[in-house]
Subunit: 305 residues, 4 copies
Amino acid sequence: MLDEGAKGVYVIAVTPFLPDGAVDMASTDRMVDFYLDAGATGLTVLGIMGEAPKLTEAESTAFVRRIVARVAGRVPVIVGVSAPGFAQMAGLAKSVMDCGAAGVMIAPPGHLRTDDQIVGYYHQAVEFIGDAPFVVQDFPLVTGVQMSVPVITRIVRDLPTCVCLKHEDWPGLEKIGALRKEGALNRRISILCGNGGVFLPEEMARGADGAMTGFAYPEMMVSVVKNHLNGTPDRGRDLFDAYLPLARFEQQPGLGLAIRKHVLMKRGVIAHATQRRPGAALSAAGVAEVELLMGRLERRLAELG
Amino acid sequence: MLDEGAKGVYVIAVTPFLPDGAVDMASTDRMVDFYLDAGATGLTVLGIMGEAPKLTEAESTAFVRRIVARVAGRVPVIVGVSAPGFAQMAGLAKSVMDCGAAGVMIAPPGHLRTDDQIVGYYHQAVEFIGDAPFVVQDFPLVTGVQMSVPVITRIVRDLPTCVCLKHEDWPGLEKIGALRKEGALNRRISILCGNGGVFLPEEMARGADGAMTGFAYPEMMVSVVKNHLNGTPDRGRDLFDAYLPLARFEQQPGLGLAIRKHVLMKRGVIAHATQRRPGAALSAAGVAEVELLMGRLERRLAELG
Amino acid sequence: MLDEGAKGVYVIAVTPFLPDGAVDMASTDRMVDFYLDAGATGLTVLGIMGEAPKLTEAESTAFVRRIVARVAGRVPVIVGVSAPGFAQMAGLAKSVMDCGAAGVMIAPPGHLRTDDQIVGYYHQAVEFIGDAPFVVQDFPLVTGVQMSVPVITRIVRDLPTCVCLKHEDWPGLEKIGALRKEGALNRRISILCGNGGVFLPEEMARGADGAMTGFAYPEMMVSVVKNHLNGTPDRGRDLFDAYLPLARFEQQPGLGLAIRKHVLMKRGVIAHATQRRPGAALSAAGVAEVELLMGRLERRLAELG
Amino acid sequence: MLDEGAKGVYVIAVTPFLPDGAVDMASTDRMVDFYLDAGATGLTVLGIMGEAPKLTEAESTAFVRRIVARVAGRVPVIVGVSAPGFAQMAGLAKSVMDCGAAGVMIAPPGHLRTDDQIVGYYHQAVEFIGDAPFVVQDFPLVTGVQMSVPVITRIVRDLPTCVCLKHEDWPGLEKIGALRKEGALNRRISILCGNGGVFLPEEMARGADGAMTGFAYPEMMVSVVKNHLNGTPDRGRDLFDAYLPLARFEQQPGLGLAIRKHVLMKRGVIAHATQRRPGAALSAAGVAEVELLMGRLERRLAELG
């Protein structure tokens, strides 16, 4: 079970598809092995970048079952269960927890505005998901919902099964600092950061416990976190800087997943870069840009030794 | 099958629930009879006001099956199949058409902005729903998507299975006029109007074919449409004016469904006003307001004879 | 000076223009007289429906000066000073208070989301407008900002110069009730309601002090408020119902001002219905609809005696 | 006068303030010299990052006059004239063109949605600004308005005074490609890119003419553009990569300007990092992060030679 002590790198997994749009289970297995070999301390599946809303309930459950089987208990698996209604959320949460998931992740629906509305939403969600540990996804750029520090404080205080914040606000460094201040929360929860890792060195310095995002080179995130914990943050930053041109490129809203899947395909992780529709495809020029950046990365890593 | 000639009043049906949140099938049957007795020429179920996103796939299908069985071919049944992803939409569309639905309704997802994005979305949707006739739902206040006349023109021209516009733009009378202008569309489609009926006399005068909305007194809408077609629009307006204080009250965003369900309960149509969560409940003061308006309506109708 | 005791009908004045787009000062005088003759207990100028953002600073000041001169102390004049930046707001507030305004009105800018952001905004605004009494404009449909009861509570508690809430939330009746509950606010402030008056009977019943909106028949609002205070709310509702078909028609977002100005022109109040661009004009069909409704209103009023 | 041939780096200038909030004219002069010494081929003032809406009309004009005087004809000066109403836009455009500006920049207001609405808005704007050459600002992340390629095509075709696109869409590389395709536009206009320069190498490769953004190290942007034109893009990318950790940090929405002003202050360009309110200040931790990145940049530049 996921708990407040979660740290390291929880990779946001993509959902691999075959060219005809079916879920690619062979690639799924290979992807699990790749992420764990890279040092992932957890996996998060069916997040926004996991194309969750494009899957039927049956497909979602089958995909989670396959992931959990391949992981075979080595790391916790978190599953996104955000849904337009609580009946769907409850159904999915029950089914994935029964499959062996370690917790669920819930993003707030876009119509929430006031502090009370947001806190109220999580109260209701917990009535539906029961005692499953959950991650609050704080990603205003995509959800449109802004969760202030007082809102997170209330959620953490009121709902003991809230164990982790997937932090992806922008700008968000001050928010980490505020949440880590003595007495801000009534108990320490895990803070894992998103945004494709492009602020990870600073996030760690402010008190994050690691990353929960899907940059196609998870080894970068593993290194930054490890070097931070080892007291060699500068070495972590050197590596971070080497990967940054690609990480920045992958962070383009609307195109990031196409880039990420292309890199994973080039690295031999998944067989196809296919996204289910609607999904932006990479043009020939886009492919050339990504591959140029991959080449430059290799050279820079060689320089760094 | 729904076609371009659809006219009259397609009532947007509520989804009745028992106090414990289960779908109330007995009330569902009674509701079908009530709507048809009131003169409905069609039913539209699982729309936004039908709490569609709060139902699981299995519940949606069971509800549609029950409705279709009770209707027993007397009028066409349209089913809302808007979904966050096309896989879900395709699954639901197939299942409800197999159950005997006459067509489906699709609202655009809120992230669409440009003309090309909106037109492209409907192109993709049609690839997934096949040859099911469909209604375009144009409801910017709720969806956030603004469909201009050129966009609707392109959808109608490109996609022959588009047979009806559920018109609910605001202000929208000019849009009806523009779409009805000689040559605006390459073929005439049905235009049925929403907004709880509060602009129905003007909409009919501009060229609409009727209403597709769920005001708890469908007989008002039936009268307005009938009087318009009979050349006695003023008589229709007299009735409309009598119902308007209640219709306006029901049109409060965020509370409309609670009011609508309360009226239907008071009228003996459904057993409970229960909404699935999240859903705004009516306070005691709200109940008193609705019932005061119901009383005034009766008196005014008596005056009108 | 405006204070917490404000009640009655504060008409939101239009800004009359000549066909060439210049401010029409002769119509301005006539409009002031019309509103006061109709029983207005205050005027609010340069609100959203006053086309405020279309005026230069110099024009705004000249318009306010003219209004104040014509009013000649008979009723308080409130001036909208919402602006993209505080420097502009401060300049306008100073200049209109110097002209003799009784207070200012401030709508929150659309990017505010969290409770703290909204409260913080009003704190900052007060630093810029000094001790001018102010009205908080709560109009989510247009501003996009949702102010919960706790937010209004904090603003009222923290900022003693906040004397009035222009209430225009939707649905908003519960909010009035909550703010009027014993102990909800640390002091009673005035609540004046917007939305073109279409919920005025219910708003008064919930504890509002009157209306602050610009329906082109202010006499309706004056009657509803007076009948409510006189203990004859049903007589007020009878009149309200008579005006409702027009009030509803005027409430169409995006077209309301065109309708309002057309009615005021037909009633001889302003010389031209001209709006400054960008502004939606009424089509011939729209004009016919408005005039049909004006005719029906006259007949209904005659019936009511 | 700005024309379709504009290329190089048009730096988006900050507006320097004294600690008391007054415009800092001495820093303004120093900033102009700094930007031109760094190789700027133009300046753009009173953009979104120039805190334009926080200035009064009089302040805006005085600031532009000072800038133009200091530039003394060495490069063109573009002035942002976006305003909530056309009267204000027209006034500001006239006043700055009279001062010697070479053109104006116009961002679309946030309520525009459909293609026709956006094109219509620029048509109207041109009626108000007359024959001043103008830049279309395409920045959906901040304005909320998405301009498709067909929209830009229409603006360029219809309005001959449109000479430049400030491109800042996200993802936007395909858009540059589409606009540069043979025959996409009826005439070639300048495309200068924003986003703090973080996609500049790719933007140049796709056909941009340079940058129009305000990264606090304009020399980076000058190098990337120059190396691109000289056929040594890889050398440009090496420099770009060195600056990227800082450029990325500056690109945090909501905090970018605080970072930019802090760097400019540390570099001796402006005397104070003060922003007019409302404006996010940098915390002590934020200052430390920026300065750590400045130190690392220096070391990396030394390595690169």
